[in-house]
């Protein structure tokens, strides 16, 4: 492994993100090639977290654009502050300014409301990290617009002219794959698919994010989560659920898993009626027993080492 990538991997861990080589390589390439990074994966596998940790370790400002259906230019890019413009206009009338002067006045930067995309390219100090979250939720049209901004890093505002990026921002796009991202946008980016973590990685994540949880609890939780994901669930729980669950169990002062505990807290993990129903009856007990049987023997205590 290239030393820089190994270093990045370590830095990400220091900042609380347990990465693997694939994540580190992709982030490294995106950073060096100055290309947007498109991250896909199931809900809760830590896509958004990549952008956050990147901002922390650079360090850089994190600018976030949450996408949703109906997102438009006024929310994503810029908007004029109409109320202020009107007020200024009224004042200017009394001052007896000429029309050209007034126009220059009210269509200046001071009256421009910068939305995330514009803010990301006008940062003067240092390149920020621009997180475009859940881009699959926006309309296809927005995707095309994004493509334009991301290829030239410049924006044309009719009244002001073209605004060029001071620094090319680090861009991270995430998608839950609720629809396929257009080819053109994908081509523009580097691509990373994050899968659910392995048992080993999940234990390390737990130890890093919920350090108060004991080694035994962490391993048992991770093992049970792994076994859950192997079942055909309509909504497989992600790492986010794992962490939530661990925190819930800590609040309940549990240091290991037993049937009663799991039954009471299963709602932290499975958030689908059918999935909960499927695990009813003796099913849950069998699943838990099978998962606990798979727990590697503890004396080796590898999680301690991993959590440093």
């Amino acid at each position: 492994m290239k030393p820089e990538i190994a270093e990045l991997l370590q830095a990400m861990e220091r900042h609380g993100y347990v990465a693997d080589a694939a994540v580190a390589t992709a982030v490294f390439l995106a950073k060096e090639m100055r290309r947007p990074l498109l991250i896909e994966g199931d809900a809760g596998v830590g896509k958004t977290e990549v952008a956050k940790v990147l901002a922390r370790l650079l360090p850089a400002e994190l600018i976030r654009l949450q996408c949703y259906e109906g997102l438009d230019v006024a929310t994503a890019l810029y908007e004029w502050n109409y109320q202020r413009q009107i007020l200024r206009l009224r004042l200017a009338e009394h001052e007896g300014k000429s029309a050209a002067e007034i126009e220059e006045l009210i269509f200046s930067r001071a009256y421009l409301l910068e939305r995330p995309l514009l803010r990301a390219i006008t940062r003067r100090e240092a390149p920020p990290v621009l997180l475009i979250d859940e881009v699959d939720r926006a309309d296809d049209g927005f995707e095309a617009f994004l493509l334009e901004v991301l290829s030239d890093y410049q924006v044309t505002i009719p009244e002001l002219g073209t605004v060029r990026a001071e620094h090319v921002p680090y861009v991270v796009l995430t998608s839950n794959r609720s629809r396929e991202i257009g080819d053109a946008l994908r081509r523009r980016c580097l691509y990373l698919y994050i899968d659910h973590p392995t048992l080993e990685k999940e234990v390390r994540i737990l130890r890093a994010r919920v350090p108060q949880a004991g080694a035994r609890l962490a391993v048992e939780i991770a093992s049970f989560m792994q076994s859950l994901r192997r079942r055909r669930l309509s909504k497989a729980p992600g790492v986010a659920e794992t962490i939530d669950w661990a925190q819930a169990l800590l609040r309940l002062d549990r240091d290991h898993l037993d049937l009663e505990t799991v039954e009471q807290t299963l709602g932290c993990v499975l958030k689908d009626h059918h999935d909960l129903h499927d695990l009813g009856g003796g099913e849950l007990e069998a699943a838990l027993a099978a998962a606990l049987a798979e727990v590697p023997p503890l004396p080796a205590a590898p999680p301690e080492a991993a959590a440093r």
């Binding site: 492994m1 290239k2 030393p3 990538i5 190994a6 991997l9 370590q10 693997d20 080589a21 694939a22 390589t25 992709a26 490294f28 390439l29 995106a30 060096e32 090639m33 290309r35 990074l37 498109l38 896909e40 259906e69 109906g70 438009d72 006024a74 908007e79 004029w80 109409y82 413009q85 009107i86 206009l89 009224r90 009338e93 009210i106 309309d139 839950n176 794959r177 609720s178 629809r179 396929e180 080819d183 994908r186 081509r187 980016c189 580097l190 691509y191 990373l192 698919y193 899968d195 080993e200 390390r204 055909r232 309509s234 909504k235 689908d272 059918h274 590898p302 999680p303 080492a305 991993a306």
Partner: protein, 490 residues
């Protein structure tokens, strides 16, 4: 834990880390990826050949992806094979569904040993794979022509036509080939003649226009409107032009959202008489829907959408070459299978009611029949046992596994066209249906058998699927399909 992937100091790699600077990757790569001697060496041609091998496997990799890959390789440790693989995956944008193919080809093309396999297998000029998902080449299509004409694809119309007395619905001498709509609508697909077919396809194209629509959350400017919510942005902009006086308010209203559809069409033997009509219906819908994905299944699941796109393009090129519309339409329309047979004279000789057809057709819409024939022919040629038995459960499970996340969302209606006759295990079917139901806006099951009033969904597969179906609708004639349209709205 055991396998530390974050060495505090670089653990000694299997080979010394060479200074991998961008300007000198070629030597290292030549070693890493020893290309076939005859094909020349060096990173660029090797990458190009690798990209081509990927494309031959149906993995969409373009020139720009190869350029990105080249740049990425200059940034990583070329001595670390895994790192090269990861870098290529990121730079060539390999999606999870293509990951297996990529890994396999990577193993073959990027090994330290001179790969014997690589030297012989990837001959991009003569790809061996007949992957149904890859973009089609003209070759197999031409080849399929005669094969289609085998008697096994004998459709019902042949027999049905003799039952329809000449002149009962088709007044002799008065526009033969054109049936009054009302009759046509109620006529079961199984009883249709090829002439009915065409009239029906045109009718369908018109019906599809009615595909109801739903207002979206997006707002669009409403020009000249006096109702609707006030659009502040545009109102103020207008006011500025008038010196700050709000003389008129700009309005906006919700956009109309076109529906998204995913259609899963059973093409097994028992569905044969209906397949063509249902496909025609789907193709008609396709022109109206914002997005329409089409899959066929019987013993395996095949995504037809790319084929349709392809056929539309080639249709355009064909039409640009074709003779003026006067007589240009009949030749490329082979009847279903040998359906024409002895009657082919009647089939081609019958003057088509062209004027009516042209009116109905949407701008740029093709004669649906042509596209359908093409798709059916290709299906017959490329999908093993395409008209054989059915494994609904496995096929739907495959769909749920591979495509559900990407293609189906809360705005998508899933349409399943099948008679539900399946002797397989119903376990996977119920699971798949539940997954689909959980994601889609609604699930509609069109069953040709349901046209019979005595029909009960008691076939095992149908019974297993019923709890997850929003509506079971008949699909035996046009009227049934027509009633479906409001349900499909977005």
């Amino acid at each position: 834990m055991t396998r530390s992937i974050r060495p505090t100091r670089p653990t000694r790699p299997s080979r010394p880390i060479r200074p991998t600077l961008p300007n000198r990757p070629a030597a290292a790569v030549a070693e890493l990826a020893r290309a076939p001697a005859a094909a020349g060496s060096g990173l660029v041609p090797h990458l190009a050949r690798f990209g081509r091998a990927l494309r031959d496997r149906g993995v969409g990799v373009g020139l720009s992806d190869e350029a990105d890959a080249l740049e990425a390789l200059s940034l990583v440790d070329l001595g670390d094979r895994d790192e090269v693989r990861r870098a290529l995956r990121a730079a060539m944008k390999i999606r999870p569904r293509d990951a297996a193919a990529f890994d396999e080809l990577f193993a073959r093309w990027w090994s330290k040993r001179p790969p014997r396999e690589a030297a012989e297998t990837p001959r991009p000029e003569q790809p061996r794979f007949e992957d149904p998902t890859r973009p089609p080449r003209p070759g197999p299509l031409r080849r399929t022509g005669p094969r289609l004409a085998s008697p096994e694809r004998q459709p019902a119309p042949e027999t049905a036509r003799s039952e329809v007395p000449a002149g009962s619905e088709v007044p002799a001498g008065e526009e033969p080939g054109y049936s009054p709509e009302a009759v046509l609508r109620r006529k079961s697909f199984e009883e249709c003649s090829p002439a009915d077919l065409e009239a029906m396809e045109r009718l369908m194209a018109r019906l599809a226009l009615r595909l109801a629509t739903r207002p979206s959350r997006r707002r669009l400017p409403a020009r000249g409107a006096v109702r609707g919510e006030v659009d502040l942005r545009r109102s103020f902009r207008r006011a500025l032009a008038d010196g700050g006086e709000l003389l008129s308010l700009a309005r906006r209203r919700r956009a109309i959202e076109l529906p998204r559809l995913v259609v899963l069409c059973d093409t097994s033997g028992s569905m044969d008489p209906h397949t063509r009509f249902l496909l025609a219906f789907v193709l008609a819908l396709r022109r109206m829907a914002r997005r329409c994905e089409l899959f066929a299944f019987n013993t395996a699941l095949v995504r037809l959408t790319p084929w349709l796109r392809e056929s539309r393009e080639s249709r355009e090129s064909r039409e640009s070459r074709a003779a003026p519309p006067g007589g240009g339409r009949s030749p490329p329309r082979p009847p279903l299978g040998e359906g024409g047979g002895g009657d082919s004279a009647a089939w081609t000789a019958a003057p088509r009611p062209k004027e009516a057809g042209e009116e109905i057709r949407l701008p740029g819409a093709p004669p649906a029949g042509w596209e359908i024939d093409r798709v059916l022919r290709r299906l017959a040629a490329e999908v093993p046992g395409w008209s054989g038995g059915t494994r609904i459960g496995e096929c739907l499970a495959a769909f749920a596994e591979q495509w559900l996340d990407e293609l189906v969302d809360g705005r998508t209606a899933v349409l399943i066209l099948s008679d539900g006759l399946d002797r397989g295990d119903v376990g996977p079917l119920a699971g798949a249906m539940r997954a689909i139901r959980g994601r889609a806006r609604q699930v509609l099951w069109l069953n040709p058998l349901a046209g019979d009033t005595r029909y009960q969904p008691t076939a095992r597969a149908m019974a297993a699927a019923m709890p997850y179906v929003d509506r079971l609708a008949p699909a035996h004639n046009l009227e049934a399909l027509e009633r479906l349209l409001p349900l499909l709205s977005a």
